[in-house]
Symmetry: D2
């Protein structure tokens, strides 16, 4: 669902809106109910004319009213407000924010917060029987990988690196950000932690050594598990590996759509 | 032309490659023949399997060999090297770089360099009678706008702001970056300069005052002129205005495709 | 108060710590009592040896325990915990965060949140009668300026631009971030807003036209007002102006210290 | 050598200048003679008054004239031009740029360019017998480290991570950027490469395994070697380690000054 270009005819404006608004918001948290964070927000509508100053103010005012609950679940309500304030062909909101999850160290049990960058995107088009709405969620999960080819047969060392797996997905029922994070972390050589004492570190080093995975293998494994979940309709998975021996990054990407979705 | 997602079937890798390589390159310069700059480069191929270490090295080596002439004109040759090194369904390169243009101040004639961010993207698919290649160019042009609604009838001031117009286009014959820059600057209330003395500043302030334009009007005017050029097949224009009285940005976007292109 | 370099003797480590921790924190808000935001945190101690894994965990754990009240007032307590966890020559914490202030549009009275980047720095050295502590606050205030030289005698336009004034200060009694913001905004040609309707915009344009100020004049005026406040012991003021006709920035900087402070 | 704050007296401007100018420059290259790159430049002078538009233009014009040779060796000439254009108490220039070094893979001998971020700072004060000039060089060197505590006695894996060592120094005779890079890379568990085939990777993994070093140990070793060189008068070394199991960074810092310098 993206704006059809004006083909051949005289060019005309499609999307107009406001960008880069930093705003304090509350998002859903499975454990705590609600989590306070700070979002970067873009809001736009498809109009064939410039936006009036009073309309810009309307957009920011809609954000203002919904900032207490900026969740994937609430996005249709925000988009409905945008469509009713403008006589627009489409409304679009996108907001990204750091999301914090409490994690316990594997041996010492020490607990600390870990940050994951998330993005929620929503688009709505007015329809005869109510607006058609599309909501997507994107989560960036940093993990540790240990490359299989690096495991020396004589055990003279191995090679681990930081890898960031970004999953974007569309679904039937709303899904928890925590579930996406868990799924990715289970596919990695090891997850990251906030607090680790020496016995925790040893535990994690050993776990990674026993789970060698290239960044492409992790991307594929994440994709296989997502495809098994009937609730998931579409996804992309991107893995970016910060190579420990080069100063560039390796990456892999795949896209998948459920048949009939 | 983008990789078709694996629909319904088992997920498999599509794009694999290297990212964020900083590299010194030479690009074409209409006045000087060649210009030295520094590019950020992404290169990828569509493979259904992980990339081997030796293949990563091959990608970087292809960059190495072509860095002396990284131009829109030369992109098909780079992509052909990528397709022949890999048995890939598609090859893709994207590089962005600051491009410098010498400009003279309007009254004093002082000359200095102005920087414009550019991006060149190329994709190639192997075909029976040679690869099918698509090349696109993107140029970011910062300009000054003076909002028409801000021109007070009693002349108690007006309101100008910085606006960035980004043009992405596809074409028949290769076009000069300088031509895209000129076209955008002619549509603005005023262009920017590197060096200005006081009489230059007065000249520019007056010129902007006599050419009030909203950022949406500039985007539209740029689009109309591009559509008149038969060589241009497709484009997007985005204008982002750094509002002088708010701390967010306003933006507008449009996309256009020539009939039959 | 900064770590003396090891002069001539064998080099040894001074500062060791953790950097770039993103953490949800609560800060003081004059109107609401408490404000939720997200901070980027650096914590370090002066040790002449590497930090143990368990000590890193201790640092993050101290942050964990204080995150519910990360304020200039609370910094001495955080630093005291750091000094007692380590046998260190000095403890240092620095955290930056977006701070939100509700502002009303001047004519329509519409209310919205505006973001200001803030930074709090604290250093403590152990002393015989308790630790000696230094706390500093830095606030970045974006404003509008209208250059006096740009006001045309025949009223053919004027020239405004975005300017960012950064004030760093040390004080006796804790001061409110809101007071620093107000002081800077009063010295500008105009402050920024979150929501403005057309009559608000006209009001603001006129106000700026009647208050022409260069960025250097604003920096000086801010400095004069700060020097009049006996509670302020030291400050720097930096003004950076995003020139509307060039693609570089102009800046000015000054530093001041109260006699005897 | 930094501007004395106006203590107690009425505040007055000290530094005024231009910032964030992106400019193509040529720098010295030990192998090739000259290297083309792109710099970000700040230039300022200590004036007690605002800068005139014509003076801003003068600053940019001085940059213009020297851009063909922006090297530590040439900084005194640039600063002399700045002092003679302004009747200033001090002139200051700072420019940072990516610097490229050709490196060969250890086994295959493949050659590729590696990027290092560099910064050159210069300050000059007018004196009776010519200006007193201070020039400093800063180089960021990314390396691989393998933490000694991570080497398992039963050889079940080890733990490497990316570390960035930043060296800032002042000296008697001009020194080569390449020499600073070499010195840091020799102290690391392993250096980075641009191109590596599988046998190269094995070689590098093994080398790191045989050279376990914490980031603090590398910082200290770099410092010890710098202190042995009589030409070096002052330095700081900072090591920042991107922890492979946490999502924050560990860091260490030290400063050293030669006795009598």
């Amino acid at each position: 669902m993206s704006g059809a270009p004006s083909a051949g005819a005289a060019p005309r404006l499609s999307r107009v809106g406001v960008k880069n608004i930093t705003y304090p918001v509350a998002v859903l948290d499975r454990t705590e109910g609600r989590q306070h964070t700070v979002a970067n927000v873009d809001m736009s509508v498809d109009l064939a004319r410039p936006m009036l100053a009073t309309e810009e103010a309307d957009l920011v005012d809609i954000l203002n009213r919904h900032s207490g609950e900026m969740t994937a679940e609430n996005v249709p309500a925000i988009l409905a407000d945008m469509l009713s304030a403008f006589d627009a062909g489409r409304a679009r909101i996108e907001f990204s924010f750091p999301y914090f999850v409490a994690k316990k160290a594997p041996v010492s049990g020490l607990s600390g917060l870990l940050e994951y960058e998330c993005r929620i995107l929503g688009e709505a088009e007015p329809g005869e029987s109510g607006a058609r709405v599309n909501v997507g969620v994107e989560v960036r999960v940093p993990v540790t990988i240990l490359h299989p080819a690096s495991v020396d047969p004589e055990r003279h060392g191995s090679r681990n690196q930081r890898c960031v797996v970004t999953v974007a997905l569309r679904f039937g029922r709303i899904i928890w950000i925590e579930d996406v994070i868990n799924l990715v972390e289970e596919c990695a050589s090891s997850e990251l932690y906030s607090l680790l004492k020496r016995p925790d570190e040893r535990h994690v080093t050993l776990r990674a050594y026993e789970n060698p995975r290239s960044h492409e293998e992790i991307a594929l494994e994440v994709a296989r598990r997502l495809a098994e979940d009937e609730n998931i309709r579409w996804f992309t998975v991107e893995s970016v590996s910060l190579e420990s021996m080069h100063n560039h990054e390796n990456y892999a990407r795949l896209e998948w759509r459920r048949e009939g979705a």
